[in-house]
């Protein structure tokens, strides 16, 4: 029941805004789904395999740039370019990650930060991707909505709606994929490596291999997200796709919602992104504009959740509360 309800809300959410012309709220929905999807990806390496990756945005950038290059120079369709971007991103991730899987804990995390720092000057200067001037993705004029969904190109009205549904589609694919991984051998092995790496190796698990696999799954999802973002922004700039928020927001969504839980990053993104957007839209303007009040309140909300519920919001007794609200008998007898 809850499932059907959530699916209906997700499907119907943009309809009233499309009718009233408030495209902004469709874009908020797009950003929520994009970050939820990235959070699901980050949760695979950070939540299940237990390796904190502070530089996942490099795969977001690789995805966006690869798709842009394939689209500009070879004229590939966006979906084909997405497939190519995922392949390139996974291959680069495997090559970059294998050497650093010797490192554990903080040292692995530092290595991922270093990779991100190295990526920035490369992005800003490499001629192939036009350095800091970025790449622009051309859009063919005058196409229908269906054509837009097939090409990720929306020259006129319908872009907000189109990208909402595109992000919903990729989000659902990421969610179902992560769910399948969680229940598979990989899911068991990731968590074994997280809980005790020596113990895992002792029962025959190649910890380095499974760390690489976990990060490559994350890289695939980040690449797909990067492609979507590139076609939405119609341009790829190094400072935008390597922005620190693409490292931080997916991670925070996972931690706030519930690290290592399938729905954790989804809940986290649904809470964090609208708050951030709302704060910017309301407090970012007016008499207090430019003083960062929006960011201060946003940061305070995150600290409140992280401090009050370190295991994430999904660890709260939702089932018991739901039972009480719906008037059913609680699963366990209440004390006193």
């Amino acid at each position: 029941m809850a499932w059907v309800g959530a699916a209906l809300v997700a499907l119907l959410y943009p309809i009233p805004f499309e009718r009233s012309g408030q495209i902004y709220y469709e874009t908020v929905g797009f950003l929520v789904l994009l970050n939820a999807m990235l959070g699901i990806g980050w949760n695979i390496i950070g939540g299940w395999a237990g390796q904190f990756d502070f530089g996942p945005s490099i795969f977001f950038a690789i995805g966006a740039y690869t798709a842009a290059l394939l689209s500009i120079h070879l004229g590939w369709n966006a979906w084909l370019a997405l497939a190519g971007a995922v392949v390139v991103s996974v291959a680069i991730c495997a090559a970059l990650t294998y050497p650093v899987t010797r490192l554990r804990g903080h040292y692995f995390a530092i290595a991922t930060v270093a990779m991100w720092m190295i990526a920035q000057p490369i992005g800003a200067t490499w001629p192939l991707i036009n350095g800091s001037q970025g790449l622009f993705i051309p859009v063919a004029p005058g196409a229908s909505f269906v054509h837009g969904m097939l090409t990720m190109e929306f020259p006129g009205r319908g872009k907000g709606l189109g990208f909402y549904y595109l992000s919903l589609l990729l989000f659902v694919v990421a969610l179902l994929g992560a769910r399948a991984v969680e229940r598979s051998k990989w899911g068991f092995y990731f968590r074994a490596v997280r809980d005790d790496q020596d113990g895992a190796e002792g029962i025959g698990i190649d910890s380095r291999l499974y760390k690489v696999i976990a990060r490559c799954l994350m890289a695939a999802i980040f690449a797909a997200g990067g492609v979507l973002y590139g076609f939405w922004a119609l341009a790829v700039f190094p400072d935008q796709v390597l922005e620190v928020n693409w490292n931080i927001l997916p991670m925070m969504a996972a931690v706030v919602g519930g690290l290592g839980r399938l729905w954790g990053p989804v809940l986290g993104a649904v809470i964090l992104i609208p708050i951030s957007q709302l704060m910017t839209a309301t407090l970012g303007a007016g008499p207090l504009a430019g003083r960062g009040i929006d960011l201060i309140i946003y940061g305070a909300v995150i600290m409140l959740i992280a401090g009050g519920r370190p295991n994430g919001l999904l660890s709260l007794p939702w089932a018991r509360w739901a039972a009480r609200v719906l008037g059913r008998a609680p699963a366990r007898p209440l004390q006193g």
């Binding site: 092995y189 113990g199 029962i203 698990i205």
Partner: protein
């Protein structure tokens, strides 16, 4: 027939400290070997070398004809050696059943059959009824039992137990000894136990190997070793002689 495991003149140094010097050891299939010695004698180092956590500086370790001296732990496990640790290494945030499934996935890559095998083994080792408990919530005795179950799930031919009974109450120790006997009897494994409790090692082992200062002092049947003057001086102490 060649022995299951052959340790040939193994030496392992940590800087200037020689943890194992020229240690040789044989374990036959279906044999229970006790490895004893005072603290710092090099028992755990030898275990680590056999299981691939460390590699010997000199000498060779051969399992069933395959040289495993330089093999990594996951490969050693695949070749048929499973171990437990002195300090338990259960997967604390996973359930008891999930822990054992991780072990059973060594022999099948499908979770369904691995789950069936794990349930079977949990019933065998006496952890039935605790399948869904988080591993971190178990008592020490049950954690050690879980680790043995997880090791068994990898279908080893040799099981290395590193102080599987230390820190247990007498009652729990008796139950653990009983479990080791059943693993040997019903599953037909070779077992090597490192243990401090003589009352456990002596009746359990077919053969006892004594390490002291990293070197093999002697080996033989438990009743011979426990009367050996050098062993009494180095390890057992005069009180043991009095009791024996």
């Amino acid at each position: 027939m060649a022995p299951l495991l052959q340790v040939e003149s193994c030496t392992k140094r940590f800087g200037g400290l020689v943890a194992n010097r020229d240690v040789s050891l044989i374990i036959e299939s279906r044999e229970i070997v006790g490895l004893i010695g005072p603290n710092g004698a090099g028992k755990t180092t030898l275990f680590n070398c056999i299981s691939g956590a460390l590699h010997p500086d000199e000498g060779r370790i051969v399992l069933d004809g395959t040289d495993i001296s330089r093999a990594r732990p996951e490969r050693v496990c695949r070749l048929g050696i499973a171990r437990t640790w002195q300090v338990v290494r259960s997967f604390g945030r996973m359930t008891v059943l999930e822990n054992v499934i991780c072990g059973a996935l060594r022999r099948t890559s499908r979770v369904g059959p691995a789950r069936a095998r794990a349930l079977e083994l949990l019933a065998f080792t006496g952890l039935a009824g605790k399948e869904d408990a988080p591993a971190a919530s178990l008592t020490l005795a049950d954690k050690k039992r879980l680790e043995i179950t997880r090791a068994l799930a990898t279908s080893p031919s040799l099981l290395l137990l590193d102080e599987a009974m230390s820190g247990l109450t007498p009652l729990e120790t008796a139950a653990a000894v009983e479990l080791v006997r059943r693993i040997h009897g019903d599953l037909g494994l070779a077992i090597c136990v490192v243990e401090h409790v003589m009352e456990v090692v002596m009746p359990l082992s077919h053969r006892v190997v004594v390490l002291d200062h990293g070197e093999k002092l002697t080996e033989g049947p438990p009743e011979t070793v426990s009367r050996d003057e050098r062993v009494i001086t180095a390890y057992l102490g005069e009180r043991y002689r009095a009791r024996a």
